[in-house]
Subunit: 335 residues, 2 copies
């Protein structure tokens, strides 16, 4: 099943179910995805029934201009860093000592807004070192404290694709404090479709999205790294997050930047990695961070060449107020 | 004005306005505090009008057993560490190098639930080093990115008192990664009453809660540190948080553990500081962390001896499921 959220007058938007080609949709039996995930076990049969109608050809034309993030806001966003190649390159990029940890790395980030797939992204200053990070993520229902990785797998109800916007001039300054990132991690973007794990077929294996993430920057191929290389699966990340807290339904857990050891062949999913590779090769970085008007495109493609999450394609907007975010926070869905 | 949230069938609870002695209340004109803070400018006159009726003697008896956190969940919780004495002692407690930063320290923590003032707090394991942290905090309305500290002061609509539960066996492990805390920072508790800054009178100065925080552990006096000693005021913390993000209405910003340089006289607001002082004095810590059934009590008292935030008084419950949290996340207020 594939779900999307359309812009309406409600902060959480209108949940719809979408055809495999992304062209048609039908209203979901829940007003919003956050409400659906809170009652997933109860609502899933009705969702499956609507999905079957869409597969049979029903549905209205989906207007891509109305697409928001499938989950435009949530109570919790916990981002991992499960690709060790990314971590190794970032130590070089930031000139930091190696991170000593045999456990999953994870921080809590801003979750009150996720930008839609085509929203221009507002930043205050190019000097902050604007960078993208291509990731996959999962959305869980309510997870009890102390869940095992095996049990956690069953709580993963949806899979998403994320652009975790990052400010590289601030990141190492905040990291050195040990407190994690606040200023260095503004709101993320999401690809338009949240999909159930079964929708990914063989590409969902061992709690990993085994799919190439095609990243283009300003129209040029930038990276084709594969999501299978996570040191920990998403079920491990969920269990790690739930070690001392119940996870509220709708919690989103991120993989961290998709990164592969053979980066010379497959490229990278963020600029900072490329700059680290340049430092190794040339002694100094040469690829600039993003500037006003620069664009990034991200598309996870399976072996059949289909893109279950749809496409993120957006531009950097310095000093321009945000659009497409849940500004109408006061208008609550009446659930 | 003084606001509280009573337990009902709704995840966000029922907002009430409370008399200065905490004995009487009237329904607020907004179902929940999160909705009120989203429309603060519009709703404040009606709130003031109800407050005047309470001051004139109106109101029903307030049942303390129904008190939840005044804001039982929010989209964002950003906790500072603005008392440098606390930071210095924690470096000794954790055997960590000094944090190099001339900026406010801040991390993002769990905001999907804040425990009520008398909820027993569930933890998985005593071996995690269970500790309290007595703090003050503020709640803001919507704050635009790039706000100045002076402008930020006007966005501070409410002041609260918080117990930031912490797990000290995990904290230094997570801190060393640079990613901040996830497992080491379970959900916090709040004292029952959120108050407008004017309600604090002279105790609200320079964006600081200039009030002794009386902390007792297992019935014994533990700390009487004053909130005036923040290196940065709350307005500075708000501006710091909003450097690269709009702050969603309802964002809660914490002071970090209230701590004073003359700790030999006034004591501490967390166990870990006392252990650091013991390390300095004796070479080793002797005060144990909390165990099942242990209690903590926190009460900010002004110079007149009144406690505008009410009292946090709660116990540690190992392996016992949580009560009093917004478990009914599916039941949304119909705003």
């Amino acid at each position: 099943m594939r779900l999307a959220t359309l812009r309406n007058e409600i902060a959480d938007g209108q949940l719809v179910m979408v055809s495999r080609d992304g062209a048609r949709c039908l209203l979901a039996p829940s007003p919003s995805l956050i409400q659906a995930i809170e009652h997933w076990a109860d609502i899933e049969p009705a969702l499956r029934s609507i999905a079957a109608r869409i597969d049979a050809g029903e549905g209205e034309a989906l207007d891509p201009a109305l697409l928001r993030a499938p989950l435009p806001r949530s109570w919790q966003w916990l981002d991992g860093s499960a690709f060790s190649t990314h971590g190794e390159l970032m130590q070089i990029a930031f000139n930091l000592p190696p991170v000593e940890s045999d456990r999953p790395l994870m921080y809590q980030g801003i979750s009150d807004r996720f930008y839609g797939p085509n929203d221009p992204i507002p930043f205050p200053d190019e000097a902050d070192g604007i960078d993208f990070e291509g990731e996959f993520g999962v959305i869980v229902d309510a997870v009890p404290m102390g869940v095992s990785p095996e049990e956690a797998l069953g709580h993963i109800k949806l899979v998403v694709q994320i652009n975790d916007w990052s400010l590289r001039a601030i990141a190492p300054v905040e990291m050195k404090t040990g407190f994690g990132w606040v200023q260095a991690k503004p709101a993320c973007s999401m690809a338009p479709f949240a999909v159930t794990p079964d929708e990914l077929g063989d590409a969902w294996r061992s709690g990993r999205v085994c799919m190439d993430l095609h990243v283009d920057c300003n129209g040029k191929a930038f990276g084709r790294a594969n999501g299978s290389a996570m040191d920990f699966g998403f079920h491990d990340l969920v269990a790690h997050a739930a070690r001392t807290r119940d996870l509220v339904a709708g919690t989103i857990i991120g993989s961290g930047t998709v990164s592969n050891p053979n980066y010379a062949e497959v490229g990278s999913s963020c600029i900072s990695e490329v700059r680290a590779i340049e430092i190794i090769r040339d002694g100094h970085p040469s690829t600039p961070f993003m500037r006003h008007g620069d664009t990034v495109r991200m598309e996870g493609l399976d072996l059949n060449g289909s893109a279950p999450f749809g496409i993120i394609e957006q531009s950097v907007a310095i000093g321009i107020p945000a659009t497409g975010q849940p500004a109408e926070h006061g208008k609550w869905s009446a659930g």
